[in-house]
């Protein structure tokens, strides 16, 4: 292999032109390049910081949409699990410290109405028992557009009001037509429909059936029901 080495060495040394590179010019070019490199890096960092800052300022509620601990996923089971987490995060802080819930969790159940994971009626009914008696909280979600529109027909035992909000149309109702007093907030939004109700009875509402009152007032006030209905994490 020596002959190959000699051949290559001769190839690069014989007929070698004078060096055209000057140290000071290369150093100056290197300095310029380094400066530009640092500036580009700094600009990239600034853009990222700016974007994060904007995200924090412009989307202040997004951080608490579902809470960082709520799971995500695209299957129907994962959606139900996420909604359970969101409902628990929204309702639990509003209950009395001594309140006991039945079942033991805010489990949301999905009743399929189509093949896609979101094509389902998601609902949960929680009995809440505290020192004042037993009441309940019910959440119903139809995550398909135009799936339901709340109607407001005031009567002897029903009062209602309607709010036009950026999220959609919100109807607040206080209903005692079946015996128990029920506060209800129903939001009809572009993404679908959510209704949150709270009753002074632990029994689920049944149309035309008398529901016994089991505490002096519903578990949640009308304002609290409204607050839960507008929880951003409920929106699909």
């Amino acid at each position: 292999m020596e002959e190959v080495r000699s051949l290559l060495t001769a190839y690069v040394t014989e007929d070698e032109p004078p060096l055209g590179l000057a140290g000071d010019r290369v150093l100056a070019a290197a300095r310029r390049s380094r400066r530009q490199h640092l500036l580009t890096g700094a600009a990239a960092v600034a853009v990222v910081v700016l974007a994060l800052g904007l995200a924090v300022v412009v989307l202040p509620d997004r951080g608490s949409v579902a809470g960082p601990s709520c799971p995500s996923g695209s299957t129907r089971e994962a959606l139900a699990e996420r909604l359970s987490c969101v409902v628990a995060g929204a309702v639990r802080p509003l209950l009395a410290p001594d309140a006991r819930i039945s079942p033991g969790s805010f489990a949301v159940v999905a009743d399929p109405v189509g093949d896609a994971p979101r094509e389902a009626d998601f609902r949960t009914h929680i009995r809440v028992t505290d020192a004042r008696g037993t009441g309940s909280v019910t959440v119903v979600l139809y995550p398909t557009p135009n799936s339901a529109t709340p109607s407001c027909v005031p009567g002897e035992s029903i009062s209602c009001s309607v709010e036009r909000l950026p999220q959609g149309t919100l109807q607040l109702t206080t209903d005692q037509s079946t015996g128990a007093l029920v506060h209800r907030a129903a939001l009809s939004a572009p993404w679908g429909y959510v209704a949150v109700s709270s009753s002074d009875s632990g029994e689920p509402e049944r149309k035309d059936l008398h529901t016994p009152s089991q505490r002096p007032e519903p578990t949640l006030t009308l304002d609290q029901v409204r607050q839960v209905a507008l929880t951003p994490g409920l929106a699909f």
Partner: protein
């Protein structure tokens, strides 16, 4: 030989002095390697300048013991990236006629150029690193990210092509 390397202090002036000393000590050697890779002195100087510019960015962080290897890696990457960029360039074994200094065999030089031009960029890089830079097979394999066996087989092909340019029949490597 005590070659200058990256500074052990963080002072910018010291950095530039050390870098300039390293440039002066190494520029010719790297220019020859770049010429052996590219076959063109202008392209070789462009490659070497780009190499030193990139090296300067990392000058503080490169250890003195590895600065040559790091510089060589930059040079090789620049060469291979440039060849990829010129992927549709037609490579021909024929080279332009040039005047040769008196007393030299111009046909030998042309034969070497033809032999090198007939190699793929990676084969050429392997031959140059093995026989001009005297790097062991393992280091060439690491630099090019290939197996040692690949370096051996590709280098053998390159050497076979170069032997055609030898003035007399060469003996096999023992």
């Amino acid at each position: 030989m005590n070659l200058p390397g990256p500074p052990r202090t963080n002072k910018g002036v010291s950095r530039d002095v050390d870098f300039s000393e390293y440039f002066a000590a190494r520029v010719q050697r790297f220019r020859r390697v770049a010429f052996a890779l590219s076959g063109d002195w202008h392209a070789a100087e462009d490659l070497v300048q780009a190499m030193f510019v990139q090296l300067y960015r990392r000058w503080r962080r490169v250890r003195p013991a590895t600065v040559d290897a790091y510089a060589r890696r930059i040079l090789l990457n620049l060469f291979l990236a440039g060849r990829r960029g010129a992927g549709r360039e037609h490579v021909t074994p024929s080279v332009p006629e040039r005047e040769s200094p008196p007393g030299r065999d111009p046909s030998l030089r042309l034969d070497v150029e033809r032999a090198l031009a007939g190699l793929t960029p990676r084969q050429r890089a392997m031959v140059v690193l093995r026989f001009l830079e005297d790097l062991p097979v393992s280091e060439v394999a690491t630099l090019l990210g290939v197996a040692e066996g690949t370096v051996k087989s590709q280098t053998a092909r390159g050497v076979g092509a170069l032997r055609v340019a030898l003035p007399a029949p060469a003996t096999e490597e023992s």
